[in-house]
Symmetry: C2
Subunit: 570 residues, 2 copies
Amino acid sequence: MSHQSDSLHKPCGQMKDQGLKTQKPHPPVMELILRLRQLIDEYSRQLKIKHLQEDLEQEKQRHSQDTREQEAILVQLLGEVVNLLQAGATSSLELQLPRLSLDSRGGGGQQAQLPRKPDQLSHQLSDSKAAVVSCDLSNRGIDISASYKSSFKDFIAYQGDKYHEDKNTLGCINLGLSENKLCIDLLTERLSRSDMNYIDDDLLQYPDWSGHAFLREEVARFLTYYCKAPEQLDPENVVVLSGCCAIFSALTLVLCNPGDAFLIITPFYSGFTFTSSLYVNVELIRVHLDSEITEADTQPFQLTVDKLEKALLEARLKGKKVKGLVLINPNNPLGDIYSRDSLMEYLEFAKRYNLHVIIDEIYMGTVFDESIPFHSVLSMESLPDPNRTHVIWGTSKGFGISGFRFGTLYTHNKEVVSAVGAFGFLHGISGITQHKLCRLLQDREWIDNVYLPTNRSRMQEAHRYITNRLKTLKIPFLSRGSGLYIWVNLKEYLDPCTFEEEQLLYRRFLDNKLLLAPGKAYMCKEPGWFRLTFSDKPLRLKVAMNRFSQALLEQKQYWVEKQMKCVLGE
Amino acid sequence: MSHQSDSLHKPCGQMKDQGLKTQKPHPPVMELILRLRQLIDEYSRQLKIKHLQEDLEQEKQRHSQDTREQEAILVQLLGEVVNLLQAGATSSLELQLPRLSLDSRGGGGQQAQLPRKPDQLSHQLSDSKAAVVSCDLSNRGIDISASYKSSFKDFIAYQGDKYHEDKNTLGCINLGLSENKLCIDLLTERLSRSDMNYIDDDLLQYPDWSGHAFLREEVARFLTYYCKAPEQLDPENVVVLSGCCAIFSALTLVLCNPGDAFLIITPFYSGFTFTSSLYVNVELIRVHLDSEITEADTQPFQLTVDKLEKALLEARLKGKKVKGLVLINPNNPLGDIYSRDSLMEYLEFAKRYNLHVIIDEIYMGTVFDESIPFHSVLSMESLPDPNRTHVIWGTSKGFGISGFRFGTLYTHNKEVVSAVGAFGFLHGISGITQHKLCRLLQDREWIDNVYLPTNRSRMQEAHRYITNRLKTLKIPFLSRGSGLYIWVNLKEYLDPCTFEEEQLLYRRFLDNKLLLAPGKAYMCKEPGWFRLTFSDKPLRLKVAMNRFSQALLEQKQYWVEKQMKCVLGE
């Protein structure tokens, strides 16, 4: 996975003192195979000698010294070959070849050089050496910690310095997070009613790990109604876990063997990248969309079957084992809503190539443009491949209660239901929360007459406000009718148009106490795009947009100064 | 891990028609290395030929046929060698050697034979072959689903047929699950008070992934007080996730690389086995305790440093990379409470060998024998290795609210706090539940004056009732003063004393609508032990013990009939 391979190359602070250095040339698999053969010859020779030795005790001791070190090196090299072969390296891929002396006990001989995953090897070497690179975390622990810190550093800082209209007017405003804060008043009122506070023995005890039956039944009823399913959905096809990313994590794990891959339409929700880096290690192969309009693409960032087909074939040529396709509809971060025909084309494509489809419909409750119809895959009379179509949904976006940590899976595939359900053991939701969710989804009168119309009109108003401000600033953006955010084009403010400059602009917003989400987080291949959340309260939006304008003004001043310096020859 | 390796050998239903068979002889690593050399020679020869071919398009096509298959076989073999080397195979271990023809395109030549993980290879082979073993789940998905079904089948059946004193008197009573149902009345009353139903914006939105600051602060205060910590514990050292197994899952992942191991005192809580089978794949190496009293062991199932040391050295000789030790104190399933001296010895042992210690103290609130003091590791003036001592705790047992799905980690190790905290992204608890937990832990007056004394006296009473019934039946058991269960010796009812007979007895209880937990689930090495939960309401306990007696009576009748048949020569 892109994210994973990035982190593999991350320098490890603890390695500094090792005096190891990476090798310059990148020989192909052939050289690695030859080197491996030499090593195996040498190893088998030593093994023969060792087998001749009679004293078992002595052998054991030696084993833990030189033989163990040789084994470590051999394991390392074999691992490289396995990786290489699995990545289809023979055709084109090249990698850094570690050159490791079999005699690594120091003194003369060849200097050990750094392989791709440095501390893995050092762990396998003798204790004295490992001590130099001692770290309490495993390699993956180090990667996760680094990835978490880099992904959430600013979010954590924001948590400690939130803007408040009275108490902290200089605090940070977060338009980088996709949260719906428009109807907290309605939700607070509804969740405070007495029916919510029911408690019984079952709610306090261990639940069915797939979710309490009462909630799974209500989810099935809710989705039947709001997705316009042709027939009543089956509660036995529902699994309830602590958030949609928990569902994604469990689902990809039970569908993929290590090293398997999923295609994902890019730019895409950054949470899937982070999720994949935690437990599962599934590779997300990006199907990049372009902002440019061409003959084939009638609108920016258009998804076509051609693009899917091309990405799949390229991946397969590289030897990737592609197990499926991830779709997000309505799309995050673009706000696109797929037409019924397009959706069917994507599903037909997946069926043609025996691909699973994970379709994340968490934004279905965020369609604020009533002229654009949303089509859930659950509304289809007949799915091309029902056993390989898996729907994710939750209440975080439509209902604006991300703090409930609720995500659900709907799939006709009984094997998948059972295997994902097992993960409720680790991703369970408290019984009292399950009860509240059930009551909320049950209350159609409140949803249809109070919540939905109010939420829609507030979303429209907030969207109008932000887009008007963007228009005034002459900033291009996508307007697609759904989502809690706007995909904004700030390329004009990057010079040169690089991801480094995008990051600088991101930091300039942050200096103005405004969090936005840069396109890089969504793996967008073009620098300069930002996702800007609009579903916040009017006053906060106003302050945020003032800060936004201010940051862009500063960006312009910075250019002027830079140009002045150039002209003055500084 | 034991559990894992069991499931590796599980027959895959879909494989039946393949006509593959496992090979009889078990040649050691030497033969594998030689075979590998042959394969590499052959492979590199073919690779050379291929590189000479000019037409790229043609090469690509060929690549996806014969070369790809060769690669699959090579990957398989290399994987075996890596496993073998990592398992320290050169000293003693032997394994099944797959004999695979390089020319696997059918027709003549050697017949492909089944390696250890059959369907993994088949996935790598050509599509036409894979189709025969097609399954929507990955190998690990298949294993997880099978493990879930076998582990929770009876629990799920129980969920649908729970005993109820009025509504379902013929329903199932579950004394196999460790739940505290003695004070649901008190909890329901406390959780229904108005302070519990508070809602604010922050509770409905994304939290700090390590847990809301207010809850982490309260957990630190609570543990400082009830664990008698020498100084105020730091909320920054607390991580809150959806249950103790979620903590265990994240913790072992960030401490272990794939294939690393932890020692675990056995018998042990079956949830750790299941957790390890879901995401992490850490090997749990059992340190078996014995029921027999010997010179060294003054009581049954005694843990000594000698046993730890022996298990560690044996594991290391086998080439295992042991990263730490899991302790459960008070113990599940034994009910043991470690003395301060013993605890210190175990911690010193771990420090001596650079081992992490994961200590699960979830049962600290279940000490019902007031004469036995409980010592949390958090109470120690100075821990031998504070950076490698990680405490797990939750409210499921002491407070009897397993349905809250709340688990917490306390560790001085900032790296571990950060890395485990990242998993809040997948194992978050709803904000409203976090609020309720905080209020509960905060209410010391209610805890000290109402909850704790009532809970303790009800536990004592229930424990007395069950042990009296056991005494009447002349059934031996351990009485250790903590836990929600009694470790019961039913060896007398097994003939022969095997795990098969244990399973039959388990089913006999089930036929009498009584769920108990057999020792096998705790990896106990001696058949005949059962864990029997006593923390249930008096009426249910009475009915349950009647069923228990009835099942044992039936077991005796079954023997008599069997012996009669023997005598009559049937």
